[in-house]
């Protein structure tokens, strides 16, 4: 494994890691020693080992997060930059070419194009616009959205600033999902660009940040990836606003902490990052993993693997919390959040297989471990809780034997260290919540007076609501992990990005089993181990209230009510960044141009759409194979639509088949004119 030649003393990196991991290990050892005295003495060795093992893993997870955040806190207080990165003068003219890539999959074409237009607008104003080309890389499978994307792209092209280009291409088969999409770009056009800024459908980066990222790549020739931590914005449901606030207040110390110990071996989060195309092409071709899904097949969470591969190739990967003005949107509801987690969980679990692959940097392995643990920790927590309950229940059913058959001078007193248990509980809670308050301190110190208003009560409100949600997420994630291990595929669904609220009915369907589990646990604990009742209440209460919490937090009205009362307010809500405003205006403009018809109907009725679609067909092909029955059915339905004015009721496959049939589209367009229907 090659080491990147960066201007940084390796001893300095080593010392940073020693501090974070040394303190984490010391914390784990001390807490585990205490834990061994706290757990009951009259349980079998196997149960005891299980409880210790689960404790080490779960506590270790908290301890690493805690110490990382503590160092991030001090880094932010000192306002120190990540060492080893050469910063360029802001006025430096870019001499390189950068492609800004927006991979999309059945997303709103207006929103994605609007974000690109807003970025292009700002870049043009910065005077560096000509160093950038924009690409919409579509993997869309919905034929109606496909046609809409084409039309929308063509309209957006006309709105691009002078001299800047916005391109569109669609893959007929979305092989290897987003990573395959980017790889396809690299294979076809990558050599024409020095760097690529990879976005998500909801990404938005200020021009100043994009230019700085490109400048950094120019002056740090050993750098493969620079990740700009994204800030969640633009959503109004209570759930989303809470996430946005948490990201704003706690996010900086988390990012700063990660940057502190990761230094030049950082991770890539899949979007809002700039990548050196040459390094990516050389190092990041992803293999298809041996074996069956979910562990085999295409790599789903490709970003972590690409960062590990680029690092393996001797390039540096940086997470730079100094880069502001990088935005994304978070899921609007708890259920949407969980659905996203389901996809991510499958991808992260797949990393178990490559965790021990040859030649990866130890920090890259740690990234994989952190990814795996971010989901695996839920069933581990659940396991620890259930083991505790089972032990307590067992004691009720099998009372302790004070006088064993073996002759002894003393009875076997089961020892329960109540003080020790409370101490461990307090320490764990401290490690969980202290980083939030450290984040708040930085936020209050660095924010203006208007931001301070309501910040403290927002943190407390966030703690209460997130505590209620935590057990629900624990159950969700435990189920996802189980699903993955049972080989159930998550598929590839588009993330909901609208402020749509959850209905009571839907919440009952999704959270019914959480409520049932909560009630059952509460009843069992109340009946058999009442001494655990209050300890278990934060968990059982969260589960029992999961339906109302999920519904109420999904409400935009409640989110706005909280905003009115200065709760969960982020600076971007008080003073909207110019780029967000521009993106909104462009979206409204593009939505006003949205055609009333969609899909095949639009292509056969509208001459412009017809010509544009046929023009793009050559770059959107070759047509995927569709079976003769589908093709024939599609042809008949189109003929009935033209000759008998029947509704064009096409299935998705039929519509796709027609959209690739240029003769049918051409003739249908002419036939409708001849029929006098246009």
């Amino acid at each position: 494994m090659k080491q990147p030649e960066i201007n940084l003393n390796p001893q300095r990196i080593y010392n940073r890691r020693l501090k974070v991991f040394g303190l984490t290990i010391v914390s784990i050892v001390l807490a585990t020693l205490k834990w061994t005295t706290v757990i009951p003495t009259d349980i079998t060795l196997l149960t005891r080992s299980l409880m210790i093992g689960l404790f080490v893993l779960t506590f270790g997870w908290i301890a690493l997060f805690f110490w990382s955040s503590v160092f991030g806190f001090f880094k932010l207080l000192k306002r120190s930059k990540v060492p080893g990165v050469v910063w360029s003068a802001p006025e430096r003219r870019l001499s390189t070419r950068t492609a800004v890539l927006m991979p999309v999959y059945n997303e709103s074409p207006q929103s994605t194009a609007a974000n690109l237009l807003a970025m292009a607008d700002e870049l043009a104003a910065s005077g560096q616009g000509k160093a950038f080309d924009f690409f919409i890389l579509s993997d869309t499978t919905n034929p109606k959205i496909w046609v809409e994307e084409e039309m929308n792209w063509h309209e957006a092209q006309k709105l691009m600033p002078e001299g800047m280009k916005l391109y569109y291409r669609r893959r007929p088969r979305n092989e290897a999902r987003k990573s395959g999409n980017i790889e396809d770009f690299c294979n076809k056009w990558g050599a024409g660009y020095d760097f690529m800024v990879v976005l998500d459908a909801d990404s938005l980066i200020e021009a100043k940040t994009v230019v700085t990222m490109a400048q950094l790549m120019e002056v740090n020739p050993q750098t493969g990836i620079i990740q700009a931590p994204p800030q969640c914005v633009n959503k109004h449901t209570l759930f989303a606003r809470m996430q946005q606030f948490a990201g704003k207040v706690y996010g900086p110390i988390v990012s700063a902490g990660l940057a502190y110990w990761q230094v030049s071996d950082s991770n890539y989060w899949g979007h809002n990052a700039i990548i050196r195309v040459k390094a990516f092409i050389e190092c990041c071709g992803l293999p298809v993993l041996k074996g069956r899904a979910p562990f085999g097949g295409h790599i789903l969470s490709h970003d972590f693997v690409e960062a590990a591969l680029i690092r393996r190739g001797g390039w540096a990967a940086w997470l730079l919390p100094e880069l502001k003005g990088s935005y994304e949107e978070c899921p609007p509801t708890m259920i949407d959040y969980a659905m996203r987690d389901r996809r991510w969980c499958q991808g992260e679990m797949q990393h178990i297989k490559i965790l021990v692959a040859r030649d990866f940097h130890p920090v890259s392995r740690l990234h994989f471990t952190i990814g795996v643990m971010s989901y695996l920790s839920s069933p581990l927590w659940m396991g620890l809780l259930l083991t505790g309950i089972m032990i307590a229940l067992g004691r009720d059913i099998f009372p302790p034997v004070y006088f064993s058959e073996a002759r002894s001078l003393f009875p076997n007193w089961p020892v329960f260290d109540k003080i020790g248990t409370i101490m461990l509980f307090v320490i764990s809670m401290l490690m969980l919540f202290l980083p939030k308050f450290l984040g708040l301190i930085v936020y209050l110190l660095q924010g203006g007076a208007e931001l301070r208003k309501g910040a403290v009560k927002s943190v407390f409100a966030e703690i209460v609501i997130s505590t209620l949600m935590a057990p629900v997420m624990m159950l969700f994630q435990s189920k996802f992990v189980l699903d993955v291990f049972l080989g159930r595929d998550a598929g590839w669904k588009t993330q909901n990005r609208d402020d749509t609220s959850t209905s009571w009915r839907y919440a009952c369907q999704r959270h019914g089993w959480h409520t049932f589990f909560g009630v059952l646990t509460l009843a069992v604990v109340w009946r058999y181990t009442p001494e655990l009742f209050w300890w278990m209440l934060p968990i059982t209460l969260g589960l029992i209230l999961s339906i109302p919490v999920s519904v109420l937090t999904s409400r935009e009205s409640l989110g706005l009510w909280f905003q009115k009362h200065h709760l969960f307010v982020i600076p971007e809500e008080l003073r909207e960044p110019a780029i967000i405003g521009k993106a909104r205006k462009y979206r409204q403009k593009l939505e006003s141009l949205r055609p009333s018809q969609l899909g095949v109907e639009l292509v056969v009725c509208d001459g412009q759409a017809n010509a544009l679609h046929l023009l793009m067909l050559a770059v959107n092909g070759p047509a995927p194979q569709s079976d003769a029955v589908t093709t024939a059915a599609a042809q008949i339905k189109l003929e009935n639509y033209i000759n008998h004015k029947m509704p064009l009721d096409l299935s998705r496959d039929e519509e796709v088949s027609l959209l690739y049939d240029r003769d049918a589209l051409n003739q249908a367009h002419l036939a409708l004119r001849l029929e006098g229907r246009l």
């Binding site: 001459g607 412009q608 001849l674």
Partner: protein, 151 residues
């Protein structure tokens, strides 16, 4: 295949031109013009293909369109024609003259350039990600020991 009901040649030309934005009196004049210009059209193929082929053959002479299939060039021509009020600006010239108007050619070239940049091919090779196999380690260890014992 969608069946086009049997129509007169002029009806089809009329529909074709209407789809490109011709209307009113200009349409009728254009139908006569194009019908005259399509005089050498023999009934062997579709009149629509024939009308498409005329501007395509002019555009084909440009190197810019060398790699594009005919249907794509025809679509490009139509898009430029529709979006730039071709009926008003160029009328029936694309079908009745031996060359396309320079202004129109320049526009089609610009549209083609705005579509996608030229390919600059690279090849991303799948990188090996070889899992360390504890089982294989054990076998190796065992083999070595046997080897050692034999020695």
């Amino acid at each position: 295949m969608v069946a086009v009901k049997v129509q007169s040649l002029k009806d089809i030309i009329r529909a074709y031109l209407q789809n490109l934005g011709f209307s009113g009196q200009k349409l009728e004049a254009a139908v006569e013009d194009v019908a005259a210009c399509a005089g050498d059209y023999s009934d062997g193929g579709s009149i629509v293909d024939f009308l498409d082929a005329l501007p395509v053959s002019h555009m084909r002479r440009q190197r810019k369109f060398a790699g594009m299939p005919d249907y794509q060039i025809a679509a490009l021509f139509k898009l430029v024609f529709i979006e730039n009020d071709g009926a008003g600006r160029w009328g029936t010239l694309p079908w009745c003259q031996k060359e396309l108007p320079t202004e129109m050619l320049a526009l089609t070239e610009r549209y083609a350039a705005d579509m996608l940049p030229a390919y600059k091919a690279s090849r991303m090779e799948a990188q090996p990600i070889e899992s360390l196999r504890p089982v294989r380690w054990f076998t190796r260890l065992f083999r070595r020991r046997k080897h050692h014992e034999a020695a």
